[in-house]
Symmetry: C2
Subunit: 395 residues, 2 copies
């Protein structure tokens, strides 16, 4: 195991009555004037946005609002948010939505504490010193951004998608009411389940496989998410199932499942280009890539993939061959993706094979112009990434 | 499942090199003048205390010191610490040791922010508004106080042991170096393992048994601690085993394993009187009580005890009878306690049976003069507590 740090200061308020504590939490963390940041659609239709506003109004906390966040959130809207907050003297940011809204909010928080262009942080030109405090009312369990140190944003020009991680942007509080997730469509539910499992898998597939506590917790989490993910699609208003999934999404990305391991995140890096190029839903893109990444890197640590197959997916252990067990695990994962309505290759994701030109460009962008490698279990260069896209391109 | 809050702001620095970051962490959390609080013996002999002082000296951070904390820490020493800190203008408290030292430090932190007697907090006469910031250099994995909201203290007059919980006292940082635990004697190692398993068990045995994620994480944690606890006694300088146990001790009591459950803690309440009366090591006292508590309350939720037996202890499931499976689990737990050198009843703990007069007095004090009940799975009154002490009194 490797030395590690663990820091998850986000105060979680979880349950049916959690939203009634919103104004109290904003006050507790110093909010005097609030930006309510959101997407559109469901938070408006469900009445949640009005409820949030009424809670702040009742507490006498002034607010301004900015909607319009889209999946794979854009830098242009975050810049607009920074400008609005400066003009209005906002000192607290409230994200009402899922990962895209939260990430956009974090970017606004960074931007408010920097005189230059906030993209400088994503370009490696500036290391942020502060982030305006933010809170979350979560509506989509998936990205785990409500407790994570991560913020991913897409620059509109050239659709360049980049991530940046720092403890500065961890939300001060996260309000989670599983009832709000009852109406999530099946595709979005399944993509969320895929994303949270992948957040744990990205930390699990490591050469460091002697951190028993972390392994046991990670396997417990993945098993439970898989089981509840299948069940909830047939029973979408089951509070218990929705609650498991919602809480698992936070635990999967607040670093708990990475204590003592070296995380990989190559699948995330390879997927980001699918979102940018085809507008793919992040979770669905991950499902289209992972089986092929797994096949490509399996030889690096076959017993690890065998352990995953047996302990997470319930595949019978072929004691004579970790490789065979490992491959049976990858096949079981493909089955699982299909059962929950996720794709398991590129044609299933985008409706046709990717062209060779697209593959070349995505691999070029994913490796920042052949300048970086992705992942740790196996460090993947441009040629490796091309090979994985090609493997994923077969139906 | 029940609604829950989850708040674990402690910044953990874990690993072989963690101690070198001490001064940096003290500065980060605003320490300008530090009280170094400790017990004696091992932290002096091992050179850790000198190392801590040298780190602060090198960073130009002034400090004063107060040693002498004993197991089941005393109010009298905490009062002395409060006086010393006031006189010296201390603004940051550093606990170097295990649970007793950390708890004593928390009591000092409360006392520094209250003009009256700090025992008022434990007597229910005053609700604290603040606690001076504190950090931890952990040397004994057991109590989990390094991330918990709990502080237990014993009033010297009458040896009254009480606990108080509040987020105010959660440590700002915890430095954990498993190497520091290599020299822990077997009895203390085993008592620590027992304590951390019990922190999870106190949250696990609940009528709320539909929080699947929490159950899965709790079972994973208990299984791993049990396995590593047995192995480490034969291999005390095994870094990997010591690391699992050290990290598990924090996770077992930072509330992670209680999300969505209703915790019990009757065994803790019943044990506290054994520590106060006989000077028993807390973990050993827990082992002497738990099997009898379990037997006494089993009928409240037999399937829960069966699940524990199968999923944590590896007992074969008797599908025709959860009760039989449950009882086999209690027997397996007794076996485990004996294997790691822990007692499983009162005569094994104190070398003789307790007298009826002692039992009556302990039950009286545990129920605060027959005024409160203990636990939630079954609410135990004075007569119940007497019955459990009597069951535990048979060798």
């Amino acid at each position: 195991m490797v030395d590690f740090k663990y820091y998850t200061p986000t105060e979680v308020v979880f349950g049916k009555d959690s939203e009634s504590r919103l104004a109290e939490m904003v006050r507790k963390y110093g909010g005097n004037k609030v930006l309510i940041h959101y997407g559109g659609g469901s938070v408006v239709r469900s009445g949640l946005l009005d409820f949030v506003k009424s809670q702040l109004d009742a507490a006498g906390i002034p607010w301004v609002e900015l909607g319009g966040v889209v999946p794979n959130p854009r830098l242009s809207l975050a810049r607009k948010g920074i400008e609005l907050c400066r003009k209005e003297g906002v000192d607290f940011l409230l994200a009402v939505g899922g990962g895209s809204v939260i990430d956009s909010t974090k970017v606004i928080g960074y931007g408010l504490n920097y005189d230059g262009d906030v993209w400088d942080i994503y370009d490696g030109k500036y290391a942020p010193k502060a982030c305006t405090p933010l809170g979350v009312v979560l509506t989509i369990p998936a990205a785990g951004s409500e407790m994570s140190d991560s913020a991913v944003i897409t620059k509109d020009e050239g659709m360049v998608k980049r991530g940046f991680s720092s403890n500065l942007c961890r939300p001060r509080f996260a309000i989670m009411n599983p009832v709000r997730t009852f109406t999530l469509p099946p595709y979005q539910t399944a993509a969320g389940v895929t994303d949270m499992m992948m957040h744990t898998m990205e930390r699990y597939f490591s050469h460091e496989d002697d951190m028993l506590i972390t392994d046991a917790v990670a396997e417990a989490l993945m098993r439970t998410v898989k089981q509840c993910g299948e069940q909830v699609l047939a029973d979408p208003e089951n509070y218990q199932l929705r609650a498991q999934i919602m809480w698992a999404g936070s635990l999967a990305h607040n670093d708990l499942t990475g204590c003592g391991t070296v995380s990989d995140f190559a699948t995330h890096g390879i997927e980001h280009e699918l979102s940018a190029t085809y507008g793919a839903t992040h979770g669905a893109g991950l499902a289209a890539i992972w089986p092929h990444w797994a096949e490509y890197v399996l030889a690096e640590n076959p017993t690890r993939f065998a352990q995953f197959a047996v302990n997470v997916l319930g595949v019978p252990n072929d004691f004579k061959s970790p490789e065979r067990t490992a491959r049976a695990g990858i096949a079981a994962m493909v089955d699982f993706y299909h059962r929950i309505g996720m794709p398991a290759n590129l044609p299933e994701l985008i409706g046709r094979p990717a062209t060779e030109a697209e593959i070349a460009e995505m691999a070029f962008k994913a490796t920042q112009g052949k300048k970086i490698t992705l992942g740790n279990l196996k460090k993947l260069d441009y040629d490796d990434v091309v090979a994985i896209y090609r493997m994923a391109n077969k139906a």
